[in-house]
Amino acid sequence: MEKLKCGVFKFTGCAGCQMEILRAEDALPQLLELIEITYWPMVTTKDWEEDLDVAFVEGSVSTPREIREVKEIRERSRILVAFGDCAVTGCIPSIRNFITQREAEKAVYPNPIWIESIGLRGISEYVDVDVSLPGCPPHRNTILEVVKGAVLKRRPYLRHHSVCVECKLKDNGCLLTEEKRPCMGPVTNAGCGAICPSLNRVCEGCYGPMSAPNAESMAQILLETGLTEEDVKRKFRKYAGWTPEYRKEAT
């Protein structure tokens, strides 16, 4: 069987998703029998020459150069994976979309004139995406599932339901209904294995919105836990405030 040609690209992001690939330590040697890493600048010194079967794009698009690059990657890859929250929703850096570019630049740089930056977007703003792999970072098992799907030529089995399902599967008590703590689980996409609620921390929503969340109702419930409207806005304006699902609550 011919090995799948895979590439990993970094855009505006923190490289944590790439680290999560390396976190699949046990599976890596076996994985390398199925795929060939054709381009991955953080790990290997190879120019990108061949077209790809699977391109993992980590990070958001926030410069004109990245727009050109993401389009080229789309053109030259069979399966394009929006790899992690930044690529899917913009993640935490998307909070800055709610302030002007000028303010953001002035807060950081004494000479904003040298900075070339535009509003931060997930890559699906610019190109068609075949697989959206949410998470900050996506769990390594979901990464393996995407590769597995590509190898077997089927859609990867990814969860599109809320974190609550995984939480119940783990037999956790409900932080929201029992303890009245402001948990974002009911609207947040699953895949993490309900890490936070299992460790006595409310879900902060780092996997972004689930499929068709009821954000308006969630906002109401959060208010009932004692949060203010400002708090609720901040909750939604964190990992995915710029998505259509959360935009209304985040603004």
């Binding site: 944590g16 998703c17 890493i37 190879k46 150069r65 000479n111 930056s117 203010t228």
Partner: protein, 471 residues
Amino acid sequence: MSERKINVDYISRVEGQGGIDLYVTRDGELRDAKVRIFEPPRFFEAFMVGRKYDELMELAARICGICPVSHEISALRAVEDALGVEVSEATKRVRKLMAMSALISSHVLSVYFLTLPDYFGGRDLIEVAGENPGLLKRGLELKRLGNDLTELIGGRSVHPVTAVVGGFTNSISKGDADAMRKRLIEAKSDSLETVDLFKELDIPEFARKCEHVAISRPDSYAINEGQLASTEGIYAPQREYRRFIKEDQVPHSTGKHSTVKERESFLVGPLARVNINFKQLSPDAREAAKSAGLRVPDYSPFRSRGGPLHQRVHRDLGGHALPRGARPGKDQGRGRLRDHRGPQGGQLPPLHPEQGRNNDEGRPSSTDLPELQEHGDGPQGAGPADPRPTGRGDRPEVPDAHKGLRPLHIVLCPCNQDPRGKIDSGVSAPRSSQSFYYFFSKRTAQTLSSGIFDDGSKAAFVRRLAAASEK
């Protein structure tokens, strides 16, 4: 005119995006070198303003996916410093352990995955592993060890979740801690083999003397907490780093350039830490470093190895960081607010008298620094007490958390519920006014205020405090 430009578009096997331009004369003399960081800016400094105190560590962690732990712990400590929250000794230890776990995985990544392929002439570790299968295995094993320890404490290795203001949300079971301890001790041989590996490699002889900066403390190898120290004589509280270090922007890079004020660029990282804190390393680690040819202070960037740190962790695990039977997270949330008790009658408490701190008296001249070349002084702790001033001074009446905060702003938070009775740990709450006082520096107040002072978050904060004080 007669210059050539040698250009690397995109440096591979580093974290982050950058290139290098070298300007070389026809005679081969290097005229200039520019590191172009084209990593797109994400403007953390801008969008973190106005966020709430309990989410800042979560945001800061996302600065880097390789070292989220450092950013997370730094953010937590900054917030706790601003709020006057003092965490328990156990929390400090677990945070230290967490930081060390991140050092292990980060250094192993750097050494095995990013650096080694160059010495073996391969494009990546996978290619190198074709002829040296043991390397990939050992690299992965060591990296997994660090990551697993982070995950044990933090819930996951990239952007851990359990560390919150005041402590941890959960605790490690004794069984898990013991199992981890066993694994760490077993991995010591792998660490030493890594050191041995570098003895055999052909490491370029090159030294560039520059100022090395790290945190340091007399009693132990500084992780998370210590004084800002340098090989050129800086020795000051961490929060005063802006007195010594400045940031500038250059046109060819989105990464800002830091320099020591009125001096030059400086080096941070493992080599700087080891150079400055060599005496505080465990004897094993010192032995390993010396056997690998490290002569402190060593200015060869090629020797920037993290190896010695592995043994640190063993020592600490065996010694004190994770005492047997300790449940490190047990006192989670028991952060204690420092003594800000307002006088009865609702008057504002007096500002502490040390408004004019920030002088140089806590800072030794470079001659006061320990002789860095001397490193055979027996096991740590056996030597005489370090003569360096601790920087804390003889001012017991000033809470440490407030040193350097200037000007001091006192913010009055009218609060609907009287927390007294629930909170017994020194929070000011004059019954008559049913109010809370928080103390902030102006900057902190600006950063945190929109998060702290609205009603809901205030109520949440009160609840948190109440929960924290319940044993």
